[in-house]
Symmetry: C2
Subunit: 216 residues, 2 copies
């Protein structure tokens, strides 16, 4: 497919990993085809949105047939670079960081936390979920050139200074779980997941919106 | 302001808690006005989006002056129901759940985790971050009628059955941190934060998008 990937809207791109996971399950259960209604029910995205998303990939379902599971799966697999492993570093092995290390994205084939850093003597030198924890003071000497992504699970007040160090080390993207808004050069991508904002936003939606129009 | 809240686009509504937090900080530091460029720099949302968002609230900045901090703050405070406390229950006191309990949204004035549930004997009967942990078997007898929101941090395979029980208890919204997609009646709102999908999505964006167009 010669499609220009950068033409896919960001909102669509955000849903790709979700579609991919569900299609893998479908495939594993031996299913050959799926309708946008079935997909919609499973991933909780309305079927008009699914049809529009899929049309960007040139995957056009047939009426009364639906989509070919194998075709979609191999397309998503390629698009999501499933055959290429991305190493990730985690900074901050508190409760949230520990949760990530134990989880370690076992359902993702293409991302793996390969090292973690902390300042606590109780944690330095241990393995958490099979991942070695190093001294944050050794970040510069330990950090390999082939890690493009870091997960930041440190206290908010430490977030910017550690980010500055990661930027010097050539990081390309940061998944920021701290409440801090990070300042980085324009070529670095930050995805910010602020747990307090997520909760406040849910409460706001409960008060102000009909729940028939769901978000993803 | 007689504006119909339900006319605010959901993407705008999602940014309200972010704006509100930053404006509180500005106000605390004695600032009287703020430009959309300053706001943009602080909250990492482009200023055209900020201006469009604010226009929905009838807050129209003046050229060369910007926005009045007090006005915005009192408007957001009212809109986000800052004077009304929402109690939240947390189900699943593992690493992720423990992180939430210690955090307990201290920066939110209007949301508070008031009780937690788990199945582990080591945790039942303890306080984590000042929040009592009860036996999940006692969910039906302990759960008060005035808790509209639950945070779900349980293993994926337990998510749907616990959700079914919460639905029977009259829950209105669930913040779902499990990889499971939950089936609920249409009047219940689910916000799903799938950590594996967030990581995969960041990796995808690093490979396919120019990083100058940031997401929030």
């Amino acid at each position: 497919m010669n499609m220009d990937q950068s033409k896919i809207p960001q909102a669509t791109a955000k849903r790709l990993p979700l579609y991919y996971r569900f299609l893998k399950n479908l495939h594993a259960s031996g299913k050959q085809r799926v309708s946008s209604a079935e997909l919609s029910d499973a991933v909780k995205v309305d079927s008009a949105t699914i049809r529009r998303d899929f049309s960007y990939f040139g995957a056009l379902g047939k009426k009364g047939y639906g989509y070919n599971v194998n075709y979609l799966l191999s397309f998503f697999s390629k698009t999501l670079n499933q055959d290429e492993m991305t190493s990730v570093a985690l900074i901050g092995v508190g409760n949230l960081g520990t949760a990530f290390l134990h989880y370690n994205f076992i359902k993702n084939n293409n991302t793996k936390i390969s090292m973690a850093f902390d300042i606590s003597e109780n944690k330095i030198g241990t393995d958490v979920g099979g991942v070695p924890v190093y001294d944050l003071d050794e970040l510069e000497s330990r950090f390999p050139a082939d890690i493009p992504v870091a997960i930041l699970t440190v206290p908010a007040q430490a977030a910017q200074s550690i980010t500055d160090r990661l930027v010097k080390l050539g990081i390309k993207g940061i998944l920021n779980f701290t409440p801090a808004r990070l300042n980085v050069p324009g070529h670095i991508r930050i995805h910010h997941i602020d747990l307090a904002v997520e909760l406040q936003s849910l409460v706001y939606f409960l008060k102000h919106y009909s729940t028939e129009e769901k978000m993803v």
